[in-house]
Amino acid sequence: MDTLILQFLNGLDKGSAYALIALGLTLIFGTLGVVNFAHGALFMIGGFCAVTLQKILMISSVTLDPTKLNFLGKPTEVKTPYVEVFFGKDVGAFIVDWSVPLAIFFAIPIMIGVGYVMERGLIKHFYKRAHADQILVTFGLAIVLQEVIKYFFGANPIPTPAPEAFRGSVDFGVWLGFAPDLIIYPAWRLVYFIFSLVIIGAVFAFLQFTTFGMVVRAGMADRETVGLLGIDIDRRFTVMFGIAAAVAGLAGVMYSPISSPNYHMGMDFLVLSFVVVVVGGMGSLPGAVAAGFLLGVLQSFASLNQVKALLPGIDQIVIYLIAIIILLIRPRGLMGRKGVMED
């Protein structure tokens, strides 16, 4: 039982990463009708926002300490980050420690900006062209973004630790009434799961309860009619692209303590999140979220030792198998609507 719960938690955790990326993909797809192969790159850029903020915070002033001598008999260099100089030692150390959560505020404007530039500068010109062209140009863009990041940050993963308070593990079983030390789970992964729930909830609330969101939903249903009502739907869709980019970026920021950002992490996630979107049903936001969690949980259960003993290697391929089966028996995915990309 305890292993099952542990795997379930693992699955929810993995699933929340899939769901966040798939949500962004579906937002772009549902509004603009563009299949964005560069979405994984946006996730990766989010991770590197965290890296950049950490680097900025670590910019230090170097002073010589004449009281301590190193082995050459010269005064040792003492590095103090400027934040510690400005805000005092305690506050400064706190800011440096919390650089990943702080990067959220740093990443939002950057990601919205990146998304805005991408949509206005490139993708706008591809609405009228074939879907294959859209895939190709965003695929090219993904390569370019990836290589640019590689040029500036190098090819190796850069560790971005979570704040000290969340670095340990939580005895999760005790909360559910199990014996202690039975279900122990990394604290940051729980934070990630809760964070993604908040983000998903926020996106849905934004679409459901604001006028802006209402217009966007109307535009997703029937773009032309909304245009005829005198609403500049293109501008709203551009904003939605920015929001989708920000969602992917935030997913990347929060994921950076779980696996250190490297330049090709986006590509690794992209394929899976496409599968998630297709399983959920193209253009269906709840479908994308549900499929993300579903596939994450199924993948975790498939990696249970008992299952693996029965079907060796099933954990590696279960997601793809499920995707193939679902597409064959329910061609529109779990919650797909009629008429989306049927050509």
């Binding site: 090219g140 863009l141 990836q146 496409f274 597409l327």
Partner: protein
């Protein structure tokens, strides 16, 4: 000639001439001159031109004719490589059985995958092929490398060991060969400073590529090819006229899968080692890039694209900052440093960046690829008004 029209015969003759004379054409600079780094006439690289040419020709039969964009073709390349190496392990180092098995196995795989993936079209097809190729990559990388059933040897890659049975080996050589003709043997010819290498491996690849190219031309011109084009221009109309397009699509998919398997088999023949990274989806992306860059739907486009990518991959990766400095040594020091600093991200390690930018530029500005670019330039020089696309031949959407 050979059942080709006049234009196609000329085209085919040019391609034959270029491939046969490639060792000369690709080595235009004397061996010890400063420009020698732009030479690419050594067998290793020329083999890759030919092999990836085959891969791209095959991909073009699917994408160029039917418009189905597969993002999983590298899976067949990998399957071909694995089956070829298995033939080396079990029979002998002769390439013929290896190539035959490679084509057969990849055909079987592409029938299965094509049957499933072709139930959907458009973007769903791309994602399905992507998912299935990624699944096969995972299978090859981790699942089929367990001790009970070690088909792929996982991370190390499948290779031939001395302990392998090799039932038909006899006194045959230990390297890949074609009835005794070893693939890695070369004949070197030097003429007044120029050096030309003629590799057996290259000529085998070249002959197979020419045959593959010939078959592709015949497919393009056949009623079957026209049917595939009809699929691309309007599949619904085809349905209304009472034609079921799926068998045609499946046939095209299988043919292009076989081409990919053949290319994979040849890769293994040139270097008897098969690794799973050949099947990764970025490798599938590469063949997409080659085909689009050269010109999808044209005959020579894929070969041009494959040659272009492989050539520049090789050359660009060799150029480091020192080489750049030596190019711009005539500039004043500070300007020189600045120019080198600006250019260096695009050379050496940064080749992928250059390739990505080039690919984007082609997709945005030149959807017909290099072939269309060439035609446009040709038209400029002939000063004839561009022929307007005839309204009658354009299909109604």
């Amino acid at each position: 000639m050979l059942g080709l029209g006049r234009k196609d015969t000329t085209l085919f003759a040019i391609v034959v001439l270029v491939t046969v004379l490639a060792p000369f054409l690709l080595n235009p600079f004397p061996a010890d001159s400063a420009m020698a780094q732009f030479n690419s006439g050594y067998p290793d690289l020329m083999q890759r031109f030919a092999i990836y040419g085959i891969f791209a020709i095959g991909f073009n039969i699917l994408f160029g004719l039917t418009g189905y964009l597969s993002f999983g073709h590298a899976a067949f390349l990998g399957v071909g490589s694995y089956s070829a190496v298995w033939m080396f392990k079990l029979l002998s180092m002769n390439v013929i059985p290896a190539l035959i098995l490679a084509v057969i196995v990849s055909a079987i795989f592409s029938v299965v995958i094509g049957f499933i993936a072709l139930r959907r079209s458009g973007i769903y097809f791309s994602i399905l092929t992507l998912a299935m190729a990624q699944m096969m990559y995972n299978l090859a990388y981790s699942v089929f490398s367990n001790p009970a059933m070690n088909l792929t040897n996982g991370e190390t890659g499948l290779q031939v060991y001395a302990s392998d049975p090799q039932y038909l080996k006899g006194n045959g050589p230990d390297v890949t060969h074609l009835f005794g003709l070893q693939m890695n043997s070369t004949y070197e010819m030097s003429v007044a400073g120029w050096k030309f290498d003629f590799g057996v491996g290259y000529y085998l690849c070249a002959v197979i590529m020419l045959v593959a190219f010939y078959i592709a031309i015949r497919i393009f011109r056949s009623p079957f090819g026209i049917m595939l084009r009809a699929v691309k221009s309007n599949q619904h109309r085809l349905n209304y006229t009472g034609v079921n397009p799926r068998p045609y699509n499946l046939a095209a998919f299988v043919i292009s899968g076989m081409y990919a398997g053949l290319a994979g088999g040849l890769l293994a023949c040139m270097d008897p080692l098969a690794g799973a990274e050949r099947m990764q989806w970025t490798a599938s992306g590469e063949v997409v890039i080659m085909t689009i860059l050269g010109g999808a739907g044209t005959l020579v486009g894929p070969i041009l694209g494959a040659g272009f990518i492989k050539y520049f991959e090789n050359i660009f990766s060799k150029i480091n900052e020192n080489v750049l400095h030596s190019w711009f040594h005539w500039l004043p020091e500070s300007v020189q440093n600045f120019v080198v600093h600006v250019l260096s991200p695009f050379f050496g390690e940064g080749w992928s960046l250059t390739m990505g930018l080039m690919f984007m530029a082609v997709v945005i500005f030149l959807p017909g690829g290099l072939v269309e670019g060439g035609l446009r330039i040709g038209r400029l020089f002939r000063r004839r008004p561009a022929p307007t696309p005839d309204a009658a031949t354009k299909p109604a959407e």
